[in-house]
């Protein structure tokens, strides 16, 4: 042990527990001397039995309803009123009497009694002192997107999700409460059923299995995750069976997706040829005969590589169980072809969740998930000329895909790659197997002390990728590779991450006082290993591995690489909470973490939090305020860490093997830093929850302020050391903001119901300090800057002030306001806004009329300025050998021309605001119209329920940004980006 503290704590706790144990034995004897039995049945509005409804007295559970909805609980005879509570329904009070109490619960999803899962615990919303957003599982159901993180877009306040690629299966960038790290990761921690899963590779996970998603944001909820929770935590639970009749459900869906038009229009054949001729025919020096022949060709390159995408999504689930055992089984098939040819995602998945009660005290269970996916992709978001999505923008319209004389791929006059060739001669695919499985044992240790329980859970998140890329000998990459005869690459990677959590929990109620304490131990270990092989010379008939011709060219030695890294985390932590009268809530947590990633000097660290909540509306003085139903104030403060995003051995001095003339020797690849340690995010949150007008309006407002300290930053070194920088813990960045969540029931009549759910977030990011070697200007990286007092990733450009009508030169505005034709990169750059959207949110309107329901969901971001490098590449004369934007037709040609495109011979200046655009957009993310069969009809045809729906995804986007898709994860459009799929599907759900 490096530190004795955790030990001491446990010893101390043991003493306390033992003392408590004796006390409980004594009190329970006195408390439960006289008892009375209460019985009855609980149903929903349609008289269907509800099982699992909790019957409690003063917040303490006494039992749950059985599968048929009946209950029988033994309560102290002093009890007057019991509370019945159930997820998704309003609480109901019953008076203790001798007759059976049959109760109908009414739905009310705004209830503060709703249970939220925080990973290690389940809490009633009322008890939460921090900030948690829960995402309705309905929002994930049947959404035709391969990677579930994208489905969370606009669904939760404080969470900004932006996908950089619309490619089926591509993951998004998920930011919770702003960017809090520069060199470290900004991805949240993902926990599925208590097991840490990779913050990527979601394409093999079936989101229809999810029961709930909670987004933990503040300190009181994330500090318990210690060194991993700084960027927030996304806690997912999968569905569980309920005892009762076995339910079978089928979900099926079919749809089509289309590729959008680009608002940044390019020239057609005549425009391009005229442009070239007007500029002196310098690019190709065409003869007039050639020009005439080329005018007859006008190729639509986009049509040649795009297609109508097809989505098929099918799933069968079965759930049910006996009183002792419950199960949930699902099998899913998701098959989506993209809107670009040779792209798509195919996923097969299987889940089995099983829970078994061994005795009144012991429960065991297993959650087993296996998903397999086949991801075929193309490359995007880069400036590579061989990327088909770039090449279709750059290929001249007067070129053909196939040479009509030879029948082979046309070689372009420009020498640029033919996109049709690279679309058809390149295969990229990843097959992924993902297994997430865990088993738990929990035991009530009532024989030691009432309220004491033990739980241990061990699980693994296993991923195996099989990446295959083949570049035929005709492809651009294949011809540029070693031996120039194509290459075949196969890589396999496996990641195995174990999570083991063991805990003791103790709850105790004394009168109006309720205590909970827990002691935990956790161990996380991840091993990543990889192997790759690249063979050259695909001169055989087959363009896969069998086509590799050994020894062809003599120099085509296959490239082979292997690697393995490992990291581990060991933690001890405790949580405690206290509530009084179910009205005042206090909680706290302390976690001590040790990580293998850090230097010997700083391997262990402690994180902690405190939180408090006050149910103001329960106070007597509040009873007179009639229109407000509930009012709750909560606040929390604490410290959370971040350790992801740096290498597993980032603190060590490393020598890598370097080769020269086939001799392999050591060369330093990384300087040591024994002081490297966690980034720490200090989080403060204060929130107010209010519902009024008979719960028809519920408003939640949170204010947060989070400061990340000890940022991982590259402290600049003198290059004379041979290195540019050292990853060091210096610098601070702050995120502050407001989050609003509004749920309203606008109209509620017998046949028609209209509800609205909206959320809005304002996040302000500011750099507080940077490395000591940072010059006052800040750290400039390309077209962005990090400067103290400004947000991270601020645009740093020279202001473009148009074109001088007299000579066609660029005009720039200097910081002092004067106009100049001289481009002074060093002195004249200024900050122009930030790339990370400061304002974002979503709004869902739901309309229900009789058996029809319609839901309309928009999400939006605004306030960000994005750099359009993709436009820059088609708005410059010197790339005129390729196709250009039609705006280039407005190029300055003669004195007096008023335009914003400079003369052809002016030097292109890219780091100017000429290419900076408003990145705001609003998108109709989802539109669903559905019809539900009436119970009567359903019964008549022998099923329990059925629903038919038509769903539109991304049908409309409003933006000024000039690209296929304004959704960018880093605020820069590097090159052509695969746009989000615009999909229309039809489907049905049938339950038996």
């Amino acid at each position: 042990m490096i530190s004795g503290k955790p030990n001491l704590k446990l010893n101390y706790m043991r003493k306390k527990l033992l003392t408590g144990f004796c006390a409980i034995l004594f009190t329970s004897l006195t408390l439960f001397a006289q008892n009375t039995t209460v019985t009855g049945k609980v149903t929903d509005a349609q008289n269907a039995p509800l099982s699992g409804v909790t019957i409690s007295l003063n917040g303490k559970g006494f039992g749950v309803t059985k599968a048929d909805g009946t209950y029988s609980v033994v309560v102290p005879s002093t009890a007057k009123r019991l509370t019945l509570s159930y997820v998704g329904f309003d609480d109901q009070q019953i008076t203790v009497g001798t007759v059976a109490q049959n109760i109908q619960l009414t739905p009310g999803d705004k209830s503060l009694n709703e249970v939220v899962v925080t990973g290690y615990q389940s809490l009633q919303k009322r008890q939460v002192t921090g900030a948690i957003s829960t995402v309705n599982k309905e929002a994930l159901k049947n959404v035709p997107i391969g990677s579930f993180d994208q489905m969370l877009q606009g669904q939760a306040s404080g969470v900004l999700i932006q996908a950089n690629s619309g490619q089926p299966g591509a993951a998004a960038r998920v930011l919770i409460r702003g960017v809090g790290s520069v060199n470290g990761t900004t991805q949240p921690l993902y926990i599925l059923d208590g097991i840490q899963i990779s913050a990527a590779n979601f394409s093999s996970i079936n989101p229809n299995d999810f029961e709930s998603i909670s987004v933990l944001k503040d300190a009181s909820t994330t500090a318990i995750y210690g060194s991993r929770g700084a960027n927030g935590v996304i806690v997912i639970t999968s569905k569980q069976g309920k005892s009762g009749k076995t339910k079978l459900e089928y979900n099926g869906q079919y749809g089509q997706s289309r590729f959008p038009e680009n608002p940044l229009q390019l020239m057609n054949t005549n425009q391009k040829l005229d442009y070239e001729l007007a500029n002196g025919n310098v690019f190709n020096n065409f003869s007039s005969a050639v020009v005439d022949s080329l005018r007859k060709i006008n190729t639509n390159w986009q049509d040649l590589i795009t297609q109508t995408g097809i989505t098929n999504n099918h799933q069968i689930t079965a759930s049910g169980g006996s009183e002792k055992t419950s199960f949930f089984i699902s099998g899913g098939l998701f098959n989506q072809s993209g809107t670009v040819q040779r792209t798509g995602l195919k996923r097969y998945s299987l889940r089995l969740n099983l829970d078994h009660t061994l005795s009144d005290n012991v429960k065991v269970g297993v959650k087993a998930y296996g998903g397999w996916s086949n991801f075929e992709n193309t490359i995007d978001d880069n400036t590579q000329i061989a990327a088909p999505l770039n090449a279709i923008r750059w290929a001249n319209p007067y070129e053909r895909p196939i040479n009509p004389n030879t029948g082979t791929y046309q070689v372009f006059l420009s020498g640029q790659p033919n996109p049709y060739l690279d679309m058809n001669e390149v295969n990229r695919g990843t097959k992924e197997l993902k297994i997430i499985t865990s088993a738990y044992l929990e035991s009530k240790l009532g024989f030691i002390a009432k309220g004491l329980s033990f739980r241990t859970q061990w699980g693994v998140d296993y991923e195996s990728w099989d990446v295959t890329n083949s570049f035929t000998r005709l492809s651009t990459t294949g011809q540029a590779t070693n031996g120039n005869q194509g290459s075949f690459n196969k890589g396999s990677r496996t990641s195995t991450r174990y999570t083991g959590t063991t805990s003791l929990n103790y709850t105790k109620t004394i009168g109006d006082h309720n205590f909970t304490i827990g002691a935990y131990n956790e161990f996380v270990n991840r091993i990543l290993s990889s192997f790759s092989f690249t063979g050259y010379g695909l001169t055989g008939n087959l363009q896969n591995g069998a086509g590799i011709t050994p020894g062809s060219g003599g120099l085509n030695i296959p490239a082979v690489a292997e690697n393995r890294t490992e990291n581990a985390l060991i933690s001890f932590f405790g949580i405690g909470s206290y509530s009084y009268k179910n009205r005042y809530f206090f909680n706290g947590s302390v976690r001590r973490d040790g990580s293998s990633r850090f230097g010997g000097n700083n391997r262990f660290a402690t994180f902690s939090s405190v939180g408090a909540g006050w149910m103001i509306s329960d106070e007597n003085f509040f009873k007179n305020i009639g229109f407000i139903e509930t009012l709750k104030l909560s606040t929390s403060y604490g410290t959370v860490g971040n350790q992801e995003g740096i290498g597993d051995f980032a603190s060590r001095e490393l020598f890598a093997n370097r080769t020269y003339t086939s001799i392999n020797g050591p060369g330093l690849s990384q300087l040591p830093n024994q002081d490297l340690t966690w980034e720490q995010r200090n989080k403060f949150n204060i929130g107010l929850n209010v519902s009024f007008l008979k719960n028809r309006i519920t408003l939640g407002v949170d204010y947060y302020s989070e400061v990340t300290e000890r940022l991982f930053l590259n402290d600049q070194l003198s290059r004379t050391t041979g290195f540019t920088s050292l990853n060091t813990n210096v610098g601070q960045v702050r995120n502050r903001g407001f989050e609003f969540t509004l749920v309203t029931e606008n109209i509620s009549s017998k046949d028609f119901r209209w509800t609205t759910q909206a959320n809005f977030t304002v996040n302000r990011n500011k750099i507080l300090s940077l490395t000591p070697t940072t010059p006052p200007t800040g750290i400039i990286t390309g077209t962005t800057i990090q400067r103290i007092g400004y947000p991270l990733n601020s645009n740093f450009l020279v202001k473009f002030a148009g074109v001088n009508p007299n000579n066609g030169n660029n005009i720039f505005q200097r910081p002092n306001g004067t106009i100049t034709e001289l481009f002074n990169d060093a002195a004249d750059r200024q900050i122009f806004g930030t790339r990370d959207a400061p304002f974002f949110g979503g709004i869902t309107n739901k309309f229900t009329y009789k058996q029809f329901d319609l839901s309309v969901f928009f999400n939006y971001v605004f306030g960000n300025l994005a750099y359009n490098n993709d436009r820059q590449l088609v708005e410059r004369f010197d790339y005129g050998i390729d196709n250009l934007s039609i705006t280039m037709l407005n190029e300055w040609r003669k004195p007096g021309d008023i335009t914003d495109i400079p003369r052809a011979s002016a030097t292109i200046r890219t780091s100017t605001t000429r290419f900076l655009e408003d990145g705001s957009f609003v998108r109709l993310r989802n539109l669903t119209l559905a019809y539900n069969l009436t119970q009567k009809t359903a019964k008549a045809i022998g099923i329990s329920n059925a629903r038919f729906f038509v769903m539109g995804e991304n049908l409309w986007t409003g933006t000024k940004f000039k690209a296929w898709d304004p959704e960018l994860s880093n605020g820069v459009l590097t090159g052509a980006q695969y746009p989000a799929l615009q999909t229309i599907t039809i489907g049905l759900t049938v339950g038996f």
């Binding site: 040790g594 001095e653 020797g665 300087l671 600049q716 003198s718 050391t721």
Partner: protein, 487 residues
């Protein structure tokens, strides 16, 4: 029993903790080395030379910036419309302190020096009486490489390259960052004279070491390392820039005597890596080991690219006898193409680095030092020390070796000076010399009429661009580093 159960649970948590804790989070890399296990014997230092030679191949050094950029900066290449204009800021002489290629060049030099210092400063711990000649062999190469890398940085970043110049130059780094705190390592610039003093001293130490080695370093067909002949070549070039004519004369003579000029018949095969005649030091490139297209930013012959971004300048090549001078056809090929793209015969495509043997992949050794250059160094040295006849003789020997039916020239005085410089540009086309030859002699460039996408034609001697700026990143981290004039 209950108490036992409870104890069991609690102790199991503690056991997990006690056993785990320190050990559980102590993970060591399995696919990388630490200093302790990287250097365990003298052999590890010998193989570690690979790290130094390997870093010569990066784009910041012979992979591009010290090999073809000097020609792109000058006038014997012309940028074509096929250019991706990735180096416009350099080739239009519009660079500032933030130029990425300049920063890359700066860093690459120090990376080589760093790796060399790891060897130089630690090898003596493993030296004893019996392995001294082996230590000499390893340490001699490392010190020679350290001197060479400093010299190559000096050429770009110092203004006046004369031996007695007091212009600000570069630091001379003999310590590796591992021996001090990297964050506090902030050396200041020495004067050009001081840097020369250090280079001369290192070359002297390397000479002693490389003169007494346990086994030959290079063979006739493998000139991939620095041996005593390569060291002489380095010294000859250093002395030429320093205008230390006496040393230039003796050092180049040593190379000339060791490695006679290639014949006209053999000369083309040098550029195809089929012969290493007259090569003193070549840097090994191969598709299997280090796939880098040396001249890819000028002309890349692979069928996937076939892009000629810079052609040979027709005005310059009109001075080379196309029919008889072997250097025309080894440098450029009229209208060369590897795909259906047609280039007119007026286009002089640079085919000097097309590949090994018959390969057309652009992967070929970098001939860093060879005898042709040594003749020209000696000619210049002799002319500057009033040995004009000998200078002319050297020039004629070289021309006779390259030009079929060459009739000996008779230049004297200024004409001879001009002839030597012209011959340098012909002989050393695309070998990393042109910019520096202009810098150390006339500081004048005239590219003639401007042809798009190039926007600049004339660089006069007073322009600041003759010396590269110290990169901004260095100045931010190291306040002791002063900037060059004009930036």
């Amino acid at each position: 029993m209950k108490k036992t159960f409870f104890k069991y649970i609690l102790s199991s948590i503690l056991i997990i903790g006690a056993v785990g804790c320190e050990k559980a989070v102590d993970k060591s890399p399995t696919h990388a080395l630490s200093q302790e296990n990287a250097f365990k014997s003298i052999g590890d230092f010998e193989t570690s030379l690979s790290a130094v030679y390997n870093s010569l191949r990066g784009a910041g050094y012979y992979g591009r910036n010290q090999s073809i950029i000097p020609d792109m900066l000058a006038e014997n290449l012309v940028q074509t419309s096929e250019s991706l204009v990735n180096f416009a800021e350099l080739t239009d002489w519009a660079y500032t302190t933030t130029n990425g290629t300049i920063a890359e060049t700066w860093l690459a030099g120090w990376g080589i020096i760093f790796n060399a210092n790891v060897i130089i400063n630690n090898i003596d711990k493993f030296a004893n009486a019996s392995n001294q000649t082996r230590v000499n062999k390893i340490k001699g190469q490392a010190i020679a490489l350290r001197a060479m890398a400093h010299f190559d940085l000096l050429k770009y970043f110092a203004d006046n390259l004369d031996r007695n110049s007091t212009s600000a130059a570069i630091p001379y780094v003999k310590q590796s960052a591992l021996e001090s705190s990297p964050a506090s390592f902030k050396p200041a610039r020495l004067t050009v004279t001081q840097v020369y003093d250090e280079i001369y001293a290192d070359i002297a130490i390397a000479r002693t070491a490389l003169s007494n080695v346990n086994s030959p370093i290079n063979t006739a067909t493998s000139k991939y390392r620095i041996d005593i002949t390569a060291l002489n070549a380095i010294q000859a070039r250093v002395a030429l820039y320093a205008k230390d004519w006496a040393t230039a004369n003796t050092a180049s003579t040593a190379v000339i005597n060791a490695l006679p000029l290639a014949t006209r018949a053999v000369f083309p095969s040098i550029w195809r890596d089929l012969s290493q005649t007259e090569v003193a030091f070549a840097v090994f490139f191969s598709p299997g080991e280090f796939l880098s297209r040396l001249a890819g930013d000028v002309y890349s012959p692979t069928t996937g690219t076939n892009r000629s971004q810079f052609d040979g300048n027709p005005t310059f090549f009109s001075q080379i006898d196309e029919a008889n001078d072997i250097r025309f056809s080894t440098s450029v090929t009229r209208g060369f193409t590897t795909t259906a793209v047609v280039r007119p015969l007026t286009r002089l495509v640079v085919t000097k680095y097309n590949g090994k043997g018959t390969a057309l992949d652009g992967v070929v050794d970098w001939k860093a030092f060879r005898t042709g250059e040594m003749y020209l160094i000696r000619a210049e040295a002799r002319q500057n020390t009033s040995q004009e006849a000998l200078a002319l003789a050297d020039l004629n020997t070289l021309r006779a070796a390259r030009i079929n039916g060459f009739i000996a020239g008779t230049e004297t005085g200024a004409a001879l000076t001009t002839a030597i410089q012209l011959e340098r540009s012909k002989e050393l086309f695309m070998e990393g010399h042109r910019w520096f030859d202009l810098k150390r002699t006339s500081r004048n460039i005239n590219r003639g009429a401007i042809v798009a996408p190039t926007t600049q034609s004339i660089l006069v001697p007073t322009r600041r661009e003759w010396v590269w700026p110290i990169p901004q990143g260095e100045r931010d981290a190291n306040p002791n580093m002063t900037q060059n004039p004009g930036y």
